[in-house]
């Protein structure tokens, strides 16, 4: 379970990235985190993996108080919470296989176990035939699928995806969504930050909307309510 208890995050110059957010996400949920750029979506996710500390309030992940977690123990939290980054964050001098295997090497798994598990996950994301390719030899969609494979290979109970379809065309975006749905089916909690109107509206999952750091809605079968003056722009984003 994930819980934000009156969480605020202010940056220098009194810029408020999150303001008094209180929310609870149960195990096994699929949640969309939506809102315009600068709404606080990435801050929300970064607080969950202790990539930053809240200015006020408390963040809980399962039985851990993330806010007071000692620095040397943060890696234990990050092993439980897998993260997919919009900019992929792949090691460019390692192959697809090696990038994914990294998620198990850090756990000290044997090379035989690593090979079996990595190949299973590469099959799941459809990259088994690209195992020996380097990131620079991949398309953006393939890089994102590598990032997803690395995030799930260690079997995290929670998966955070920060705009995983942000740079991808509609067909590839749906492929990524299919993978995330598969991961969700096996009981993983999935939180996906997105701009993509079409995906949010088609999937009808729980949707938490943020605006200027404030939580403006939390709906069980939510929709992306696009403000009238930016409708054209959002539709474009949704179809990109």
């Amino acid at each position: 379970m994930i819980r934000f208890d009156n969480v605020s995050k202010h940056f220098a110059g009194h810029v408020s990235a999150l303001a008094d957010v209180t929310v609870e996400i149960q195990d096994g949920e699929f949640v969309f985190l939506i809102g315009p750029s600068g709404a606080g979506k990435t801050t929300f996710l970064r607080l969950l993996i202790r990539d930053m500390l809240p200015t006020k309030g408390t963040v809980y992940v399962d039985d851990w108080n993330v806010t007071t977690l000692p620095t040397p123990s943060i890696y234990l939290l990050r092993r439980r919470v897998g993260t997919v980054f919009q900019d992929f964050k792949l090691l460019m001098d390692r192959t697809v296989y090696e990038n994914v295997a990294l998620g198990l090497e850090i756990l000290g798994k044997s090379s035989k176990e690593i090979e079996t598990r990595v190949m299973d996950v590469l099959e799941l994301v459809g990259l088994a035939d690209k195992r020996n390719s380097f990131p620079l030899q991949l398309s953006a969609g393939e890089m994102q699928r590598t990032g997803i494979a690395r995030a799930i290979v260690g079997g995290p109970s929670i998966l955070l995806a920060d705009e995983p379809t942000g740079n991808l065309d509609p067909q590839i975006s749906w492929d990524i969504l299919d993978i995330l749905k598969e991961i969700h089916k096996i009981g993983t909690t999935v939180i996906m930050a997105t701009h993509n109107v079409t995906i949010v509206n088609d999937l009808k999952k729980r949707t938490i909307a943020l605006e200027h750091g404030k939580m403006v809605s939390d709906e069980q079968k939510g929709r992306y309510h696009v403000p009238a003056r930016s409708k054209g722009k959002k539709d474009h984003a949704g179809n990109s």
Binding site: P72, L76, R78, L102, I106, L107, G154
Partner: protein, 288 residues
């Protein structure tokens, strides 16, 4: 290392110089300690008699000394005994054996006092003895050696200390630079849940490896020097049993074992120094 060979080479070279000096200093200290131990184990006073001294002179002096009640032991070494000792010490050099006969070696008395403080009371009695040519006090020899040994230790310690500090700083700089180069990789590793030690260990091992490689090359140089200088050292210090046993045969088990142990010691010191440099860099540049 292959990505920044020049920086790695600088670190290895500095480590090599440090370990070379550490090794040489260690050998000099160990050698001087052996020499000191040898002289300290010798009788405190050696009384040499002239060739013209009568046979009874040594015996008379021995009785006089024993009568004082201040000597622990007095041993007479005749000319023949002196020749036997000389032959034993130089058995590996036939040329030296041919040149010496019992006639040119003096007879002597080896005296040990019950207490070192009695030495100055025994000195006038010995010097007044009939047929006495020369009196050698081991204390003087030991004191001179001790002064030299202490000087070697002081200068050596200072130099090794300075070079060790230099090595740590160089390794720290090189590892710090590598941390900066791998900043993105480190960030990714920490985000996917790598433990602090998973991230740090390769840097610690790299620093340690610089030290170990430097130590290995310095060991090769020192081993070459020892083998090259072995006959000369044996000529000077062959009378010391430990030196004789160690150096007499360069293929003996004890000599080879000592070399391996010396390599282990140098490698361990090099590894610790290099790792220390890495630790300093990690604590400075990685804040997690």
């Amino acid at each position: 290392m292959r990505r920044s060979p020049y920086q790695s080479m600088a670190a290895v070279l500095t480590m090599f110089l440090t370990m070379l000096l550490t090794g040489l200093f260690f050998l000099a200290t160990a050698g001087s300690s052996l020499v000191l131990q040898y002289f300290e184990s010798k009788p405190q006073i050696t009384v040499f008699f002239t060739n013209k001294a009568a046979a009874g002179d040594a015996d008379a002096l021995k009785k006089t000394l024993e009568a004082t009640g201040k000597v622990a032991s007095v041993k007479f070494v005749s000319k023949d005994d002196a020749l036997a000792i000389y032959r034993e010490q130089n058995k590996s050099d036939p040329l030296l054996l041919e040149m010496v006969t019992a006639d040119i070696l003096p007879a002597s008395l080896e005296v040990s006092a019950m207490d070192p403080n009695f030495l100055h009371e025994l000195e006038p009695i010995i010097k007044e003895g009939q047929g006495v040519e020369e009196v050698v006090f081991q204390k003087d020899v030991v004191d001179t050696l001790l002064r030299w040994t202490n000087a070697i230790r002081l200068v050596g310690s200072l130099l090794v200390g300075l070079l060790a500090l230099d090595s740590i700083l160089i390794v720290m700089t090189v590892i710090g630079m590598k941390i900066a180069i791998k900043k993105e990789e480190i960030e990714i590793l920490t985000l996917v849940g790598a433990s602090p030690w998973y991230v740090r260990l390769p840097f610690v091992l790299e620093g340690g490896l610089y030290g170990t490689i430097g130590a290995f090359f310095s060991w090769i140089i020192i081993t070459g020097l020892v083998v090259w200088l072995r006959p000369m050292v044996l000529g000077f210090l062959g009378i010391i049993p430990a030196v004789q046993i160690l150096l007499v045969n360069p293929l003996s088990g004890i000599f080879l074992l000592s070399l391996v142990a010396f390599l282990g010691l140098l490698s361990a010191i090099g590894f610790i120094l290099g790792s220390l440099g890495s630790f300093v860099a990690l604590s400075r540049y990685l804040k997690f």
